[in-house]
């Protein structure tokens, strides 16, 4: 579905991304982990077109998208969320979703009908607001919302584009414990044929979610494999997970995190 081959990104003397290859099949549940500064967000920026790669290719559904502009990649079904919320602060969640859905359905250039004038758009908005528990706050300007709601909106916007490949950049970062459940539930409930790449530091979430994992360190891929292999790999433990007890889906991770390099 999505394939990045030999991606390299250099900024002057710094190689932020060093020969990274990543493959997502249809319906993938793929996690990307690694210490801070490993280049995970840079990789997402390369995949989505925010940055141009120095070398390498990106294929989406068989098409070479390496030189495609970001908005065109979205049209082809690759959508991302941001680690730091990127929202439209003066607009309400309803307006935000309505404009996203309108754009997706092709009404982006319609200047003569009101925003609420397309039935298919408004119905989809009702659906999304319901799904993300944003209905009560749908008419409040985004800058007034609580952090947890803003995070939900962040993801809702991405899903409003009906992605075929979804890149989630630390979706639960900074979300209070009480509101995590909502988010985790939504992530788990994503349609089965959507390919998801998840960047996260919360190992609970990662091991519960992922069927395959890639570990990145210093801009390069250290290892790729299924969760069990990764969890027990000595190199990964040394670099990231920590050399405490064995790490797995049901385990406490606090001890391991304390040893993290």
């Amino acid at each position: 579905m999505l394939s990045a081959q030999g991606l390299v990104k250099r900024f002057g003397g710094i190689t932020a991304t060093n020969n990274v290859t990543l493959n997502l099949c249809r319906g993938a549940r793929h996690a990307l982990i690694g210490p801070n500064g490993a280049g995970k967000t840079t990789l997402i920026n390369l995949l989505t077109g925010v940055l141009d790669p120095t070398e390498g290719r990106i294929m989406l559904d068989g098409h070479d998208i390496t030189t495609m502009a970001p908005h065109q990649r979205v049209k082809r079904g690759m959508v991302r969320t941001f680690q730091i919320n990127q929202l439209f602060d003066t607009l309400t969640p309803l307006q935000t979703l309505a404009l996203t859905v309108s754009q997706y359905y092709g009404y982006g250039l319609q200047w003569w009908r009101p925003l609420g004038g397309n039935r298919d758009v408004t119905e989809r908005c009702d659906q999304l607001l319901e799904q993300f528990h944003l209905s009560e706050v749908m008419n409040q300007p985004t800058h007034e919302l609580a952090y947890g709601k803003r995070r939900l909106l962040e993801i809702a916007i991405a899903l409003a584009c009906e992605p075929r490949v979804l890149l989630l950049d630390e979706p639960v970062a900074g979300v209070p414990a009480g509101e995590r459940e909502e988010l985790l539930h939504t992530v788990a409930a994503l349609p089965a044929d959507v390919s998801v790449l998840l960047i996260e530091h919360d190992m609970d979430l990662v091991f519960n979610f992922a069927k395959r994992m890639t570990v990145m360190v210093n801009g390069a891929v250290l290892i790729e494999g299924d969760p069990d292999t990764i969890a027990n790999d000595p190199q990964v433990k040394a670099v990231y997970l920590g050399t405490g007890e064995e790490v797995g889906p049901a385990d406490e991770i606090t001890g391991a995190e304390a040893h993290r390099v």
């Binding site: 989505t48 925010v50 502009a69 970001p70 908005h71 065109q72 979205v74 049209k75 959508v79 991302r80 941001f82 990127q86 929202l87 439209f88 602060d89 003066t90 607009l91 309803l94 307006q95 935000t96 979703l97 309505a98 404009l99 996203t100 309108s102 754009q103 997706y104 009404y107 982006g108 250039l109 319609q110 200047w111 003569w112 009908r113 009101p114 925003l115 609420g116 004038g117 397309n118 039935r119 758009v121 408004t122 119905e123 908005c125 009702d126 607001l129 209905s135 009560e136 749908m138 008419n139 300007p141 800058h143 007034e144 916007i157 409003a160 584009c161």
Partner: protein, 323 residues
């Protein structure tokens, strides 16, 4: 009681009761206040010009110091059209809008790249270049003396432009209303919403599939056309066009109007225009040459105190103001 998405959205874009009332009074004002017809004409023109800037500034977030380029282009196009081709005002208006939009298309290439500062520069330079151009091509434009000898034909074949300005005011008001209706539609539409998305967060707008540069160019061209219409009205109702129509003052004036009335709100341009013109009238009669001083002082105080506060008087004395 939960409202559906459709109901909420439509409610905010629905025509408010006071809107038709306002426009009825506005359209009738040249007759109700016939001694003020001239200033009503000026208010309508500057309001239209201000709203054209609001399209790119308030709704899309493009900072421009040179919108007068389009005002001037429209003015000179309309005046030259009347003088050299045909004196019909409406055809001239359409021609002027077309020419300004063309200029807008050319300029849009330059405002897409670079920072706010680059944009300020380029937009300012455009209006200065045009002023120089108009100055140098004095065989066509009359140079510093202005374009003389423009005689307008009757509007719609029947209504002559009279000395008291009633026809002029009605003409300007009608054109302003017509264009306003289009712009009102636009800002409440999906297209308008994408513009606001670009304004609020360009990165995210790109990330949801909005072709940002195309949209920026589109609204810029549209805004240029509207500004050109304002310029055409100016030239046609005064039967004259001069270099000061490109001057920086014009661009600064509408910035001030949007500051007074509130940017990002169509009626902001209108209320700002009314207040501005009336203030200008009053202050000019008190201190004719130094009116710019008070404008400057007003701007400084306003910005220091916080622009949002002007349109929310309850925040003037220590209330909370939302960003």
């Amino acid at each position: 009681m939960k409202q559906s998405a459709q109901a909420s959205l439509l409610r905010s874009s629905r025509l408010k009761l006071w809107e038709p009332a306002f426009w009825l009074i506005a359209m009738a004002s040249p007759w109700l206040l016939s001694s003020q017809a001239l200033i009503i004409n000026e208010i309508a023109i500057v309001a239209l010009f201000a709203i054209s800037l609001d399209m790119i500034l308030g709704y899309t977030g493009i900072v421009s110091l040179g919108h007068a380029a389009f005002l001037g282009m429209g003015a000179y196009s309309a005046a030259l059209f009347a003088k050299l081709v045909m004196p019909d005002p409406l055809v001239g208006l359409l021609f002027a809008m077309f020419v300004s939009s063309l200029l807008g298309a050319i300029c849009s290439l330059m405002i897409l790249r670079g920072s706010d500062l680059t944009r300020l520069m380029v937009t300012l330079a455009m209006s200065l270049i045009l002023m120089e151009l108009a100055n140098k091509l004095d065989w066509l434009t009359g140079g510093t003396d202005g374009l003389q000898g423009v005689v307008m034909g009757p509007l719609l074949g029947r209504f002559e432009f009279d000395l008291w300005g009633k026809t002029a005011a009605s003409y300007s008001l009608s054109v302003t209303l017509l264009l306003f209706i289009q712009m009102r539609r636009l800002v409440n539409s999906p297209f308008g919403a994408t513009l606001m998305a670009i304004r609020d967060n360009r990165l995210r707008a790109m990330a949801i599939g909005i072709p940002v540069n195309l949209r920026l160019a589109t609204i810029y061209i549209f805004s240029a056309g509207i500004a050109g219409a304002a310029g055409a009205l100016l030239a046609q109702t005064s039967a004259f066009a001069s270099l000061d129509v490109f001057a920086f003052d014009r661009s600064a004036d509408i910035l001030l109007i949007l500051v007074i009335g509130g940017a990002g709100w169509l009626y902001g341009g209108i209320t700002g225009a009314i207040v501005f013109k009336l203030m200008q009238d009053i202050l000019s009669s008190i201190t004719p040459q130094y009116w710019t001083f008070w404008v400057g002082l007003f701007l400084v105080i306003l910005v220091l105190a916080g622009r949002e506060r002007l349109i929310r008087p309850w925040t003037w004395f220590g209330g909370t103001s939302h960003k």
